[in-house]
């Protein structure tokens, strides 16, 4: 079951490099968060840890329900068209993402020795998700896509935290959720401001400051 969820996360992450519309990217983020919440739920069940149940619940309510909902509101509010705007087309993006997967695998193999295959795979998947998120931020033109890329990268961090025996200290994790929520809201606010001042949210056209 864990292997299946990890596989799904990998598949969804690869697909994010191929999608070209904003709602599809948001949907991918939602599915990925869903898998992550399930993974945490499984760990909670296995370790019978009430703390992990709380975290799974938070993951679900924040990253599957609340944040995508806020994004949908924002998309409606700013009346932008749904194209992501690709600096790099889907095929090249796919090649890039495959290269990132190899780098992640290499890094994970440096950190974790062979007998622990599950941890090794989890860590390389986590690293892959983080790097792909950042790659999306750099290669997509719409400001909203950059925020979703950041959120994808943060999912990778939460995935990485699952390899720590017993998980991260509880209060740190709760505070992290709060932090994610606040930073998403602030980024959303700035997207709103950019839209009001520039009448678009193309970051490729934000080039007034040079040198």
């Amino acid at each position: 079951m864990i292997w299946l969820l990890l596989f799904l996360i990998l598949l969804i992450t690869v697909e994010t490099a191929l999608v070209t519309s904003l709602p599809a990217l948001l949907r991918n983020f939602r599915y990925q968060s869903m898998c992550l919440a399930l993974l945490t739920l499984l760990a909670a069940y296995r370790e019978t840890s009430p703390e992990l149940y709380v975290i799974a619940g938070l993951l679900f309510s924040l990253k599957v329900l609340l944040i995508p909902h806020l994004f949908n509101l924002l998309i409606k509010r700013i009346n932008s068209n749904n194209h992501l705007g690709l600096f790099l087309n889907a095929q090249f993006s796919l090649l890039f993402v495959v290269a990132l997967a190899m780098i992640s695998w290499y890094l994970a193999s440096l950190v974790i020795a062979p007998p622990a295959y599950l941890e090794q795979l989890t860590l390389s998947a986590a690293c892959f998700v983080v790097l792909t998120g950042i790659f999306l931020m750099a290669s997509r033109i719409k400001a909203l896509a950059q925020v979703i890329g950041l959120l994808l990268a943060e999912n990778g961090i939460f995935l990485a935290a699952t390899i720590i025996p017993g998980g991260m200290p509880f209060f740190v994790e709760i505070a992290l959720f709060f932090d994610v929520l606040v930073s998403v809201m602030i980024l959303g606010l700035f997207i709103y401001r950019i839209n009001a001042i520039f009448t678009h949210i193309d970051v490729s056209k934000l080039s007034g400051l040079r040198g």
């Binding site: 950190v111 025996p165 991260m168 992290l176 932090d179 700035f190 001042i197 520039f198 400051l209």
Partner: protein, 465 residues
């Protein structure tokens, strides 16, 4: 009303500065290690950061009094916005005071993230096209950086959990068990930490947000960004570095710092020569000085570390003075474009004089304090036998200093392009400049015992004793 608010704010920050001075004397010179619960921890290194933060924040609060009043009377901001400024100013200061006092690396991460989130509003404060663009880039680039840093923090926790079974994110726990940690994990984790926090510390090539944010922020805040924000992110790297040094030995961490330090110097070299904007010029100077500090830390000998830590404070006060001057100049001239500025000494005699002193200090001429810390780092570099690195360092510094002096000479002297009547300096500004000049000049002439003892204590902490 706005002026009175500013004076109250400055008075409160003066109290905070006195408290920080006491804290610095007690914890720093007394070489205490305090902890409160498992979340807070303070030692001589924290005390240095707290004192630097307090000094720059007090100066910025004092300078804000006339700056914000002038912005208000020029119609650039409304009364409500001025209130909003002071609210954000204090939130930002509070977040930066929090950073050096935290033990838990997860919460440390959050405090640093908090400084980004709050200060992004101060960068985008004027709500113009340029400032919103700068704020956006600042938020996005620093968020990416900080995400990588969190990944690194998780790897450190993983290393601790697998080596000892302790589930903790506390720096003190990591340090106590550093020798037991798996060096392979620590090495990979540190790369994430260095790139992550290095982005926010302004190390090249991750510095691209910095000139935009520094040039668009409200001028007193530019000083805080350059003087303290960069250092508090560097502080996080230093904390991790202590663990890496103890765990991996050799100079794994030091070599990275040397590399990034020299790279920062090399990159700024080009941008300073071709610079067209006063505040961006100062911003690139910050990249340079962060590079110098990183270089000193990278050498990793007691002398070099002393120089690097001393430089943290010296750069903070000198750069604050320059940003205040630049703020005053851009208010008077209505621009911070280098082409449009000239004859500052004639139109703003006191600010011009302060900037002239500041410019000499900034490029590292004696008898100012930056000269002292830089010469210490150079001596340490030659002593440790890194002749090539030391030679490169000197060469790049010489080019940067020459270019900076050229730019400053052009704007300070000569005739103003449009004749402006010489302006009288508000008393708050005079006090701010004098407060900073005491440090810039005073510490260049002699280093008080209190400061030397606390720097020595902090050096010992950096070396893992």
């Amino acid at each position: 009303m706005i002026k009175r608010l500013g004076i109250i704010n400055a008075a409160a920050h003066f109290m905070a500065w006195l408290a920080a001075l006491y804290f610095f004397a007690a914890v720093g010179a007394g070489n205490l290690k305090l902890s409160l619960g498992s979340i807070f921890y303070a030692d001589a290194l924290s005390a240095l950061l707290v004192f630097t933060t307090a000094t720059v924040t007090f100066a910025a609060a004092l300078f804000s009094v006339s700056f914000i009043t002038t912005d208000f009377s020029l119609g650039k901001i409304t009364a409500k916005k001025a209130l909003y400024y002071y609210l954000l100013f204090n939130l930002f200061a509070a977040a930066m005071f929090l950073v050096p006092l935290i033990n838990n690396l997860g919460f440390l991460w959050m405090a640093i993230e908090l400084t980004t989130l709050v200060s992004s509003f101060l960068v985008g404060f004027y709500n113009t096209r340029h400032s919103v663009e700068a704020a956006w880039k600042y938020l996005i680039i620093c968020s990416v950086g900080i995400t990588l840093a969190l990944f690194g923090a998780i790897l450190f926790t993983f290393a601790l959990a697998t080596a000892t079974g302790i589930k903790s994110l506390n720096w003190t726990d990591l340090l106590a068990t550093a020798k037991a940690l798996d060096p392979a994990i620590v090495k990979v984790a540190f790369i994430f930490i260095l790139v992550g926090y290095g982005t926010k510390a302004g190390l090249a090539p991750m510095h691209t947000w910095l000139p935009d944010a520094h040039s668009q922020a409200v001028s007193p805040v530019s000083a805080m960004l350059s003087g303290v924000l960069l250092k508090s992110s560097l502080y996080a790297i230093l904390r991790y570095g202590i663990i890496v040094n103890r765990c991996c030995g050799g100079n794994y961490y030091g070599n990275f710092m040397l590399l990034f330090g020299l790279l920062s110097l090399a990159v700024t070299c080009f941008f300073i020569i071709t610079q067209k904007d006063l505040k961006r010029l100062l911003a690139y100077h910050s990249v340079e000085h962060i590079g110098i500090i990183a270089f000193g830390v990278g050498l990793n000998s007691p002398l070099a570390l002393f120089g690097a830590l001393f430089h943290i404070f010296n750069h903070a006060v000198t750069k604050s003075l320059m940003f205040f001057g630049a703020g005053r100049v851009s208010q008077a001239y209505g621009s911070h474009d280098l082409e449009k500025l000239s004859g500052i000494i004639k139109t703003l005699p006191f600010t011009g004089l302060a900037m002239l002193l500041g410019a000499f200090a900034l490029v590292g001429l004696p008898p100012f304090s930056i000269f002292t810390s830089e010469i210490i780092i150079v001596i340490a570099a030659f002593q440790s036998g890194n002749f090539i690195a030391a030679g490169l360092f000197l060469l790049l510094m010489a080019v940067i200093s020459g270019a900076a002096i050229y730019h400053f000479a052009k704007i300070l002297f000569g005739q103003p392009i449009e004749p402006l009547a010489a302006k009288k300096e508000p008393i708050e500004n005079v006090l701010t400049y004098l407060f900073l000049i005491i440090f810039i000049l005073g510490l260049g002439l002699f280093v008080p015992t209190l400061l030397r003892q606390s720097l020595d204590a902090a050096v010992n902490i950096l070396r893992g004793f």
